[in-house]
Symmetry: C2
Subunit: 220 residues, 2 copies
């Protein structure tokens, strides 16, 4: 059984490990809004519990057990987000903080039943995949919108930026999950992308395009 805090460390390490193999102390500290010294303390504790492998000055990796625990927290977080949006009518930019608390409620039965109540969703309101109760993710293949070229079409199926500002911006442009789009132009000057969205033209910056995930249907 892990404490609330230990769970948050595991989750943070899990997410950081998606980008680098060995997760560094400073990276964890920044992500968790704490100091490196505190991270070192906690890492030792997690290592003692067999949840991470740790070599001094070399950063950490999750053990099998640690990874499973982390995935379970991610599962809870994303299921609660679906609940908040689908059942309680929260907007996709409003759910993160509450889910951050709900993810620590520790009843297996609760999550099983919630999963069923929600119809076993495969993705959360931002398109992030929800692992099943065995920790397995459904295979999905996304392309970043920025990688598409003129004429390509597809469906918006996720975002890689979860800030409220970004999500509100997309909402205002009408770029929400499930919308079908086609690339009509890419500006040479600033790399901004012109999108055809149900007969409406929308222009998005290169920065925005980087953070939208598309399930591609290939060329028109």
């Amino acid at each position: 059984m892990q404490s609330y805090t230990e769970e948050n460390y595991l989750k943070t390490i899990y997410h950081l490990a998606e980008k680098t193999i060995n997760v560094q102390t400073n990276a964890i500290a920044e992500q968790m809004q704490t100091k490196p010294a505190s991270v070192t303390d906690m890492i030792k504790k997690l290592a003692d519990k067999g949840l991470v492998d740790y070599i001094k000055y070399q950063g950490v990796t999750l053990t099998e057990t640690g990874k499973n625990t982390a995935i379970d927290i991610v599962r809870k977080h994303r299921l609660w987000e679906v609940f908040l949006v689908d059942k309680l009518n929260f907007k996709w930019d409003e759910v993160h903080d509450v889910a951050e608390e709900l993810e620590h409620i520790k009843s297996i039965e609760l999550i099983e039943r919630l999963d069923e109540f929600l119809g076993f969703p495969k993705a959360d309101p931002h398109g992030d995949p929800i692992p099943d109760k065995n920790g397995r993710f459904a295979k999905t293949q996304f392309i970043k919108l920025i990688e598409l070229t003129i004429g390509d079409q597809g469906t918006i199926t996720g975002v890689t930026q979860h800030s409220s500002a970004f999500l509100k911006h997309l909402e205002k442009l009408g770029l929400t999950l499930g919308k079908k789009i086609q690339i009509s132009d890419v500006t040479d000057f600033d790399g901004s992308v012109e999108i055809l969205l149900s007969d409406k033209q929308v222009n998005i910056s290169r920065e925005v395009a980087k953070h939208i995930l598309i399930s591609s249907n290939g060329k028109n």
Copy 2:
């Protein structure tokens, strides 16, 4: 903003205050499964925060602020219980522990929306009243089943005992919320009560009868 633990103390004091005016240190300790010395520490802290009035050796009472905070936690607890039973199909004897955790999630918006999603319920699965967002309880008038006499009829609307054993027992006898009953006999020997429950005869002990609340329709 109160800690998880402070909230639990306030809730416990609130419930104990339903029976006695001044709540004693030992009573709190027993209820919270902790030691009297720890209770004294916490009481001082709550007094400093203006949540309880405290005179050494004389026990505590909640201040207005303390009481409002406690009622808010009770509201959350009971709304989550309704959610668990109505939406996730938990049994009424399975919900307490999970609600005990959920009640500490601290988003006002969440509770407002949950309340609405559940159709603004007035009572939880055990018949306990749910205060509205202003902390007001709907007026209800219950009679303990034990106080009824032969011929009296009414509807089961609550219980004053929440143990899983008790609730499972009632369930097995068919004595669940909303059921209409009539007293057909009261045994002199042991005070046990004979009940007519939709043409079925059920006998319950005096001890059980004490903990069932009836909204009475008066004599037949």
